[in-house]
């Protein structure tokens, strides 16, 4: 019962339930509850595929198309990653979700002293275009959609993807990539940031401007706004949505200020939202989020185009819900989290694997996660009918309450002066880290229950899980390959590209064309990020606790 606070009487009967977002749950719901929140079918739900899309983006939901599964993967050298990609695709996965190692995410080459011990450890190592050519070898870029889980240097990685397509002679209008590219959440929650807040936001928005507003990469989703990591850092589900929307508006405003129409900017935004926690609260959260996003885009920016109002996204992961204690329990948790995603109408999904509390997943555990999602879609009836919980007295009341709660949290963002200011001052970081601590105290003191952690605890020795090992040989191979590229590339082209990048940064122009030029010339990630560090400086973390 870990995902809400429960009060019990002396006979162990529950007297009070409070969800993480602060909403109280009643023992019984009926028509009066819907009347009390003024529930109206057309206004609150509409049919699936109709504004405000509470029920689903498409009229037939999973009947017309099951969700896209996109397990997060990548490790070691690009060649090893290529094998893992092929394994997942061979087993029915239809999108990629590329993990990069920390040096790549932080803009350091494999031969940089800062990269020592980290090459290929938590994702694939990328130094130059050669690495992308290897990692995506044998995959059809016009058929596969690739999530690129990288933020501070997302601009470099999307440019690299475009350069890859160009090097293969593939039409860049046909490639589909989703760089995560959400620097504000990265500073709040995941920590792979480099540049000062406003410079980082400008780079994120360069990608949005280039891919969507200018239409250079029309099938790419230029940003995946991650309430996910904010939630992992301690936010409530309502804050997860409110802060994600606050971030989205900051990006829309930045690009609109460059002279584009809001529709051109926002139409391909996507979201990455979390799925652990109270089942009902998650389902209500997803339904409320879909509705609010459409409503707010319409009200705030006057966007009319139906497809531009869609809250697209990946609802998945659930990392924080997993425990190190009794790790096999995480397999079961994953299935329920997947169920929450499906009942919430996830378009795309992925599951953390049961061993991720220890390390990155093994092939077996990654495949098990994929199978869990496939069982949900193919075996238990989740494709039968759209939005099956619609009309439930409880779910509809809760969806309305979540909507109000999200709006209330958004007022907090306004009081901070918007998300850019809130991140710059560290206020949002302070809030979520304090809540994370309160959550842990609740667990320690038994106010929240987690099976295996503070209830049904076993004196467990370290469980036997097969762990993914760090490979020194892979790291050495990567450095060797980088040296070879540096030796054989045309140095003049590299210099010209880097010069163009420096000029664009100095002039405050969009960096994307120069980055594509750099990548095509086999400039390294570290060389490009180095120029960016030199011109933009680095973030000084606000004192946050």
């Amino acid at each position: 019962m870990g995902v809400a606070k429960y009060t019990k009487d002396n006979k162990d009967a529950i007297t009070d339930v409070e969800l993480h977002s602060g909403i109280k749950v009643k023992p019984v719901y009926g028509p009066d509850d819907l009347a009390a929140v003024g529930f109206d079918y057309q206004q609150d739900l509409g049919d699936p595929g109709q504004y405000p899309f509470t029920r689903a983006l498409h009229p037939l939901g999973y009947r017309s198309r099951a969700w896209t599964t996109r397990q997060y993967s990548g490790f070691g050298t690009p060649a090893e990653t290529n094998e893992r990609f092929k394994l997942l695709i061979g087993h029915g996965q239809n999108g990629l979700n590329v993990a990069f190692d920390l040096p790549t995410q932080m803009g350091y080459d494999s031969d940089d002293p800062m990269a020592e011990g980290e090459i290929g450890r938590v994702g694939m190592s990328v130094d130059t275009l050669v690495d992308f050519q290897t990692a995506f070898k044998g995959l059809d870029l016009t058929r596969i959609g690739s999530g690129l889980t990288i933020n501070a240097v997302a601009c470099i990685m999307l440019a690299m993807y475009e350069a890859l397509a160009r090097s293969q002679g593939v039409d860049t209008a046909k490639i589909s990539a989703t760089p995560q590219n959400d620097i504000l959440k990265e500073i709040i929650g995941r920590g792979a940031w480099i540049f000062p807040v406003r410079a980082g936001v400008d780079l994120t928005c360069d990608v949005i401007e280039y891919a969507t507003a200018q239409g250079k990469l029309p099938r790419c989703n230029p940003v995946s706004i991650c309430g996910y990591h904010i939630r992992e850092s301690g936010a409530t589900p309502a804050q997860e949505i409110a802060f994600a929307f606050g971030i989205a508006f900051a990006y829309v405003d930045n690009v609109v200020a460059r002279g584009y129409e809001p529709t051109q900017v926002a139409e391909r935004f996507s979201f990455n939202l979390n799925i652990f926690g109270n089942l009902w609260e998650q389902v209500a959260k997803f339904r409320a989020a879909r509705k609010l996003w459409a409503k707010l885009l319409k009200e705030r920016y006057g966007i009319q185009d139906k497809k531009a109002l869609y809250l697209r996204g990946l609802f998945g992961g659930g990392g924080y819900g997993l425990t190190k204690a009794q790790p096999l329990n995480n397999i079961v948790r994953g299935a329920y989290y997947g169920l929450a995603a499906a009942l919430g109408g996830a378009q795309t999904t992925a599951l953390c694997s049961y061993d991720e509390a220890f390390t990155i997943p093994t092939p077996t555990s990654a495949l098990l996660s994929l199978r869990t999602l496939e069982i949900l879609m193919d075996e238990i009836g989740l494709r039968d009918t759209v939005d099956p919980l619609a009309g439930s007295y409880f779910i509809e009341t809760l969806t309305r309450q979540m909507e109000d709660k999200v709006l209330e949290e958004m007022e907090q963002v306004d009081r901070w002066g918007g998300m850019v200011a809130a991140v710059e001052s560290g206020q949002v970081q302070r809030l979520v880290s304090r809540q994370a601590y309160e959550w842990e105290r609740d667990l320690a003191e038994g106010r929240r229950i987690k099976v295996g952690v503070n209830k049904y605890v076993e004196e467990d020795e370290e469980p036997e899980v097969e762990l993914h090992e760090y490979s020194l040989a892979s790291a050495e191979a990567q450095i060797k390959s980088l040296k070879e590229v540096k030796r054989t590339r045309n140095q003049k082209d590299v210099s010209a590209g880097l010069k163009a990048l420096e000029k664009a940064l100095k002039a405050g122009r969009n960096v994307m064309p120069a980055l594509v030029q750099c990548c095509s010339a086999f400039a390294t990630v570290g060389e490009m990020a180095g120029i960016m560090r030199q011109e933009l400086g680095e973030l000084k973390e606000p004192s946050i606790f």
Binding site: L102, M106, G117, R190, A325, S433, E461, L467
Partner: protein, 140 residues
């Protein structure tokens, strides 16, 4: 809170390396502060040299490393050598994060005074850090 006969322990909670997952580090920082420690938080992306410099500057009794990336062995080794080179033999060092139990003996071998793998209870971490600081003080 610290009882009257306990000197306030100063701890540097540090995030070495490139990993940015700092929820755990911040939770521990809060818990230690609540328990009466003076806590200095390093912020992210610190090199071992930066951590040592801060430890010297802040005259801490304990350095607590939070490591989630799997690089705990090389980082700890580097830190212990750096502390020794600087003659900081009276500083206790504890490590927490994603740490397989099988690596604990190797960490202890390096001179780490306390290891708290993910999932350790808050109270046991606070008590363990206090114990590590006291034992170091007695030794020194």
């Amino acid at each position: 809170m610290a009882s009257a006969n306990q000197r306030t322990v100063r701890i540097l909670v540090a995030k070495p390396g490139l990993d940015g997952h700092d929820r755990g580090a911040k939770v521990i920082a809060h818990a230690l502060r609540d328990a009466g420690f003076e806590v200095i938080y390093s912020g992210l992306h610190q090199t071992v040299d930066q951590i040592i410099a801060t430890a010297v500057q802040e005259a801490v009794d304990v350095v607590g490393l939070s490591i989630m990336s799997g690089a705990h062995l090389p980082i700890s080794q580097k830190l212990m050598k750096g502390l020794k080179d600087k003659g900081l033999n009276d500083v206790a060092v504890v490590v927490g994060g994603v740490i397989p139990h099988r690596d604990i003996p190797a960490l202890k071998e390096l001179g780490i005074d306390g290891v708290f793998p993910g999932g350790s209870a808050l109270d046991s971490i606070v008590a363990g850090v206090r114990r590590a600081a006291e034992e170091k003080r007695v030794e020194a």
